[in-house]
Symmetry: C2
Subunit: 330 residues, 2 copies
């Protein structure tokens, strides 16, 4: 098995990407293919020559590039080359921390969707209090899905949850403004009908945003617009609270500073539990190949986890085939 | 000027509601009308007879009642009686901590909308790091607004911000998944056009959920579905983090416990800054009268603030007339 890593994508590329890939390579029974500017990459990997391969890609897609245009014009970019290798079967997964829009556009254009899937979904793991997390999809790929897309999200998310969490019948919840079936906007009302009427998933009903972190479900289904707002408001609130606590400590005098010092190890443990890098990345489900998106600010650890906890098990478990089979049944 | 308070609505009714109303009555140059079961209320208010009036309403709408049915059938409920008094001009505002759905249905049915407004909007203040807050609307009243509703939300929110924050040209932001004009779902894209093309507001563009608490705008416009998810995810994340910190302290041994004890006063100050009760409640804008919704769990302090910081200034400032005039210009 081979996994292609877009070595040029992300805020910390290429150094942190290469480092994470090398660390992962040491732990897997397969090959990591680093895609990017050969010279730059060779200077970073010398010692590990046996476990990694380098494929040259002279162009780079930056975070500022317009997604569709970048994919169409920069065919020699590290991202486009990696996705083309996935499409041709040369690798079994692609991992990138680069331009999200370009990744989504490139995956659809170059790799294509699974037959029967009309809309892909980005499916990150949101933090929960028990430290395990909940798979949420879609979180930014499909802005205006139809109810039938939402059902496909539910099926794909369930199969992903089986691989990631080892669950037999993952509980699927629908993000909504109340738990009652008659709550919600037009899409939520119709999606409730689609989800509750399907035997392909274990639907537990509507889930309110405030109950997500309590672990109300294993798979949370939502449209890409609301899901993206949800994700960013969780991030923003968490950042604001930790910044607020820090400020309170700074302006709270000696007493507060001493308290913070004593409390630090316990708080650090808690923050680690909530940390995004833990899961490494999120799959773009519905694409006809394993595509993993890591956070733009991913460090070596996140890239390593993206390979070991996402790309590798999803490819091993043949999740794409499973989705393909199950979607045929809708 | 008279303000009607639904004395029977909310988790802490009637005791906390009456207490908050009495405290507010002592500070305003007008009368508070307590609406509810006369006997129960009289036993709670004896000493303040001069500042408050009691209007009997034998029925009560509970949190479990179906909104529309409750308003239609329980015409003698405290909520319906209070709203009927507002409609007939006997009072200049209504404050309730009761059933939100019944309040919204009752306000539309019994008081009616401002001419030209097709959809009302619930407009609470979300916390920001600087402690002032941002007015967000709609947060749960209108699930599927059209772009022209979103523009009306923007206009109403701006006038409300002028009264609440004393701002001349409040900055209006549109909740979206990116700051670029071409980002968003169909509604967000069309709303961007409607808002950016209007001379009635000071539009500053799209605002991402993670930038809200940083104070990216004074008025945040969104549809009621996404807004409600946003509000509840902020609440849920904050609760989860504080619960997580508490757990980390509890399991962190003597060191962590001592640290927490020392840090407590500074943290308490910070939590107060983020506290919802601070603003007292949220107006239901677009209704032809001042309607203030307090949180279901509102205590006496929240009710007092709902009267003094919301109902009173909005009625004094004739915000309803201002909205009516400005909406005529769209």
């Amino acid at each position: 098995m081979k996994i292609a890593v877009d070595a040029m994508g992300g805020d910390n590329a290429p150094r942190a990407i290469v480092q994470g890939a090398l660390e992962a390579a040491a732990e897997v029974d397969g090959k990591i293919v680093l895609v990017g500017r050969r010279q730059e990459l060779e200077s970073l990997v010398e010692e590990y020559a046996a476990e990694v391969e380098i494929v040259d890609a002279p162009e780079v897609i930056s975070g500022e590039d317009k997604p569709l245009m970048a994919i169409r014009r920069k065919r020699q970019s590290s991202l486009a080359v990696a996705l083309t290798m996935l499409a041709s079967g040369d690798v079994q997964a692609v991992v990138t921390a680069g331009n999200t829009g370009a990744f989504m556009a490139g995956a659809s254009l170059l790799v294509g969707r699974i037959a029967g899937i009309t809309k892909p979904a980005l499916a990150p793991v949101l933090p929960t209090m028990d430290g395990r997390g909940v798979i949420a999809l879609d979180l930014g790929s499909t802005m205006d899905p139809k109810p039938e897309n939402m059902l496909q999200f539910a099926v794909m998310g369930s199969l992903y949850a089986s691989t990631l969490f080892g669950l037999d019948q993952p509980r699927v919840g629908l993000l909504n403004v109340g738990t009652e079936p008659e709550k919600g906007n037009d899409l939520a009302l119709k999606s409730y009908q689609a989800l509750s009427g399907s035997s392909l998933i274990n639907f537990t009903g509507n889930v309110e945003a405030r109950d997500i972190m309590e672990g109300a479900c294993d798979v949370l289904v939502c449209d890409g617009f609301t899901g993206n707002v949800l994700l960013k408001s969780m991030e923003g609130t968490a950042l604001a609270i930790f910044a607020g606590i820090k400020e309170a400590v700074m302006t709270g005098g000696l007493r507060a500073k001493l308290g913070a010092l004593l409390l630090k190890p316990a708080l650090k443990q808690f923050r680690n539990k909530m940390d995004h890098a833990e899961h490494g990345g999120a799959p773009l489900l519905g694409i006809n190949g394993v595509c993993i998106k890591c956070h733009g600010s991913a460090d070596a650890q996140a890239i390593k986890n993206g390979i070991l906890k996402q790309a590798w098990p999803l490819a091993q478990d043949e999740v794409i085939n499973k989705i393909s089979t199950k979607i045929g049944g809708i």
